[in-house]
Symmetry: C2
Subunit: 233 residues, 2 copies
Amino acid sequence: MSANGTVGWQDLQAKILERLHTRYWGPGELIPGEAELAKEFGCARATVNRALRSVAEAGLLDRRRKAGTRVAVHPVRKATLDIPIIRKEIEERSFDYGYSLLFRGIKKAPASCRSRLELEVGATALRVEALHTANGAPYVLEERWINPKAIDDLDKEDFMQLSANEWLVMKASFSGGDISFSAELVTKTQASRLRIPEGSAVFVVDRKTWNKDHAITWAKLTYAPGYRMHTLI
Amino acid sequence: MSANGTVGWQDLQAKILERLHTRYWGPGELIPGEAELAKEFGCARATVNRALRSVAEAGLLDRRRKAGTRVAVHPVRKATLDIPIIRKEIEERSFDYGYSLLFRGIKKAPASCRSRLELEVGATALRVEALHTANGAPYVLEERWINPKAIDDLDKEDFMQLSANEWLVMKASFSGGDISFSAELVTKTQASRLRIPEGSAVFVVDRKTWNKDHAITWAKLTYAPGYRMHTLI
DNA sequence: CAGTGGTCTAGACCACAAG
DNA sequence: TTGTGGTCTAGACCACTGG
């Protein structure tokens, strides 16, 4: 309730969540329409809409025109993950950030890369391998392919000081991407670069980004053991 | 643009995104205020607000009262993960879901469990271990502690047919939780239960849920190798 | 067809924070 | 102090879809 005495959408949201938690509105049940709730809570329908929409976006309600609003039977909770650039991620944990380029060069793109970047057989792409460190210790290994057709001035940037991760964010805004997270065993090369024992389990982020149907880059980020990705729901 | 000829917030959002992608509004730049944009695009300020808010929620804009709206310098992209119940997760991949209880019993809670569930030294909690299978193959191992004080009728449920995962969703609605994802090496016991080689890397989800400051359960989900968590941004 | 949510508008007041 | 975003309202029209 605001100072004004009016019902704010967040107040309303809290009341709605309470009704869900207490099972006042049980799973699968049809709840009253927006107009009715507006009357009950003494506010405008737009306010009810905003509150219900926010709860629905969290996965707790199913809303459909004409059918009305139902309590989700199997709530598919949504967790939001923050995907910062690596330097920020390290600095926010109060570590000293370090970066070193391990490899940079044009190479013939392997099949796995070609399919992701939509390149033709025999096409070449820019390969960048780099290590990000936190307080001097290896933090994450970045193995990346960049589509040379998607970016201008690619040959002018040597990635010696600035990581491809960060450069691409500045240089090439992207419209979309897909990310997958998995657990893998390190390869021998990765293990030596991350200075960890062979056979370690590592957290891997596989990310592809594009801009308007145009594939830009495909990156594989291999985190040193102990890394945890965390979020609240 | 709607049939009506009015500018919808999604149309406006697209135009805003375009200005960001083309660097018409560059990183760090202050963009015009809502009132001005409303005039420019010929719509109400509320519509501009809705569009700008959605873009800001995606992490591409920073909005502050009085300071105005700026293009984010280091866009912290937000990825949303769906957290379904395990049965649904398997069924949505068109696999046959299977479940078997491995252990159920009251045990003295170890320190790691006590701290998470806010239990006193010497307290007991319900331990549940179960295996979820997809097409008969082990999919994920569920190792869970349940706070007996947080749930009624806990002793009446034997978890023989229904998984604790699913039962808790129905029985105990929760108000919040935290989740972390990591990569680990399987323990010997886990390996035999998941029928995988020792030394395998596994994707682990560590989840704690509570209801109004009251800890309900702490679950560790260990996925069989090959599991990938995927999302679009 | 008709009911429900989705959205737009125009105006208003307010909270916050930069200067 | 004052500008900017945050939100509420009352009314309206529309899109979708269940029956």
